[in-house]
């Protein structure tokens, strides 16, 4: 079966100002490769500063890589930093959902903008799509007239999910999206994510610190350390028999 998302030799370097005139190169990601099939979940774990969030940004298109390719269903969408404008198929959910929503627009307007920029739906189709997506993530149709400040954190995460799903993406990148939620709300959102995955065959790339969550929902694990892949494999195998020291240390705490 062809993988939905395939990442080949992705690298990213930041220039850091070291002195007055000198600049130091700092490799955030070195040679990252992995692939993931339809309806599967890959978890990316690692210590702070291992390059997890940078990977999320590269996948979603918020930043571009220096070299390497990203392939979506066999088509190259990013090649050595040049990206096809296909932002609608890989969608990202941010860590802080409150900060990622425009406080001056209603939820309906935000969702409507997504559809306007990416599809050629007319007004009626867009309204219908917005209603359908809101009920899909467990919100009411009425919520589209609400402003972000009127929601609780859990509801905001649902709104962020609706915003990601409204364009019918193939891959959803969750950048620590579940960490800021309290356990009961997190459980609700996780169940919602799993349900959506079963129904529509979504692929998740989950970036998280939460190991029991990784074990619960992901099929594969990618362990990053200082920008390098130290371990990559099926979740159960990695958790049962961690090979590298870094994974052992991560799992033991």
């Amino acid at each position: 079966m062809q993988p939905v998302l395939k990442v080949q030799a992705l690298s990213k370097t930041f220039n850091i100002r070291a002195g007055l005139f000198s600049r130091k190169k700092f490799a955030v990601l070195k040679n990252i490769s992995f692939c993931i099939g339809k309806g599967e979940t890959i978890a990316v774990i690692g210590e702070t500063g291992a390059g997890k969030s940078t990977l999320a940004k590269l996948l979603s298109g918020a930043d571009s890589a220096d070299c390497g390719q990203i392939l979506l269903e066999g088509n190259i969408i990013e090649d050595n930093g040049i990206r096809d404008n296909q932002c609608r198929y890989i969608r990202m959910i941010f860590q802080d959902s409150a900060a990622s929503l425009n406080p001056g627009l209603t939820i309906g307007d935000t969702l409507d903008d997504c559809l306007q920029y990416n599809t050629d739906f007319d007004k009626a189709e867009r309204t219908e799509k917005i209603s359908a997506t809101l009920s899909k993530v467990g919100l009411l149709v009425d919520h589209q007239h609400y402003y972000p400040h009127m929601f609780s954190v859990g509801q905001l995460q649902r709104v962020a999910l609706a915003r990601a799903l409204i364009l019918d993406p193939k891959v959803v990148v969750l950048d620590e999206a579940l960490s800021s939620l309290d356990p009961s709300v997190r459980a609700q959102i996780v169940n919602l994510l799993l349900k959506l995955q079963q129904e529509t065959g979504l692929t998740y790339v989950m970036i998280t610190h939460h190991l029991s969550l990784v074990r619960h929902i992901s099929d594969q694990v990618l362990v990053l350390d200082k920008g390098e892949v130290v371990e990559y494999g099926a979740t159960e195998v990695v958790f049962q028999t961690p090979q590298s020291k870094i994974t052992q240390r991560l799992l033991s705490c």
């Binding site: 932002c87 969608r91 990622s100 425009n102 406080p103 209603t106 997504c114 009425d142 402003y147 915003r163």
Partner: protein, 297 residues
């Protein structure tokens, strides 16, 4: 819409509606707003409302005190000046010059400032710096002095005053707008909006402006109070509006010789100037407080 409302709240309070609700609770600011609106209406319709023409002279009624005094005449509610002109009509028409022109000057400053500030905010590197510091040289001179220099070159006149004030106000305006835009651009929701496929124009118009227009209004009120003071000060110094024009500062200067004989001809334009600046500042201060309270939420 669903058939029933689950939530008791009837309407969804937009950020603007919340803003207004908080502003309403600040009573001095609200009073300031009413005075401000009254001045604006007066400035727009003074020639229609004024009982007499601006330069209409009543040779039978020279230096008549206001009508509540014993010597007063009810035809001239605020009295007349030494040429027998009705003070009330002159002051009403003065609103068009002092207040109206200040509003126009502040509006032009706002439009240019927002345009240049926006371009400076979204561009990077040298272009951004160039736009940002385009008019910084004028910051080194106080606005009044700058106006005097421009008038020394172009000659005295009301329009020259307006240009001078616009030039003097612009750099601060551009800096403020640019800083606001750069602050907003770094926020997460702009990244998210860009990932939704929004173009630069969408990001500016749909993403940033709905969130900074209150700040722009606050900067506008500050520019306005400076503009009122500068226009009247230049009028008073006989560098701006010239005497037959009913600009408040010019009226003050014209009647300064009559201060012992007919104090009302000097006091009343002064009171109006005070009220105009006070109301503008009250509104601006009220707006600023609401913004601060909202940031603290």
């Amino acid at each position: 819409m669903a058939k029933f409302n689950i939530f008791s709240e009837e309407s969804n309070k937009s950020p603007l509606a919340r803003f207004w609700r908080k502003f309403k609770n600040n009573h001095p600011a609200l009073v300031g707003l009413w005075i401000f609106v009254a001045f604006a209406l007066l400035a727009a319709s003074a020639p229609l409302l004024a009982p007499y023409g601006v330069n209409q002279q009543h040779s039978d009624a020279l230096l008549i005190p206001p009508s509540w005094r014993e010597m007063g005449d009810v035809r001239f509610i605020l009295g007349t000046d030494d040429l027998g002109r009705d003070v009330l009509s002159r002051l009403m028409n003065g609103a068009t010059y002092t207040f109206g022109l200040s509003v126009v000057a502040a509006l032009i400053t706002t439009i240019i400032g927002v345009l240049v500030g926006t371009f400076a905010g979204i561009s990077r590197g040298i272009r951004s710096s160039f736009l940002n510091h385009l008019l910084d040289i004028t910051l080194s001179i106080p606005s009044l002095l700058l106006a005097i220099i421009i008038i020394a070159i172009l000659g005295p006149g009301l329009m020259n005053t307006v240009w001078a004030i616009i030039l003097a106000l612009l750099p601060q305006f551009i800096h403020s707008i640019r800083n606001l835009i750069v602050d907003e651009l770094n926020k997460d929701y702009i990244t998210a909006f860009r990932l939704d496929g929004a173009s630069n124009w969408h990001i500016i118009s749909r993403g940033i402006f709905p969130n900074i227009y209150e700040h722009i209004v606050v900067i506008f009120t500050m520019a306005l109070s400076t503009a009122i003071l500068d226009i009247s000060a230049l009028g008073f110094l006989k560098l701006g509006a010239q005497p037959p024009t009913t600009e408040w500062g010019a009226i003050l200067a014209e009647n300064l010789g009559l201060i012992y004989l007919a104090p009302w001809t000097v006091a009343l334009p002064g009171v109006l100037l005070f009220l105009a600046v006070l109301s503008t500042n009250l509104v601006g201060d009220g707006l600023r407080q609401v913004l601060k309270a909202r940031k603290a939420d």
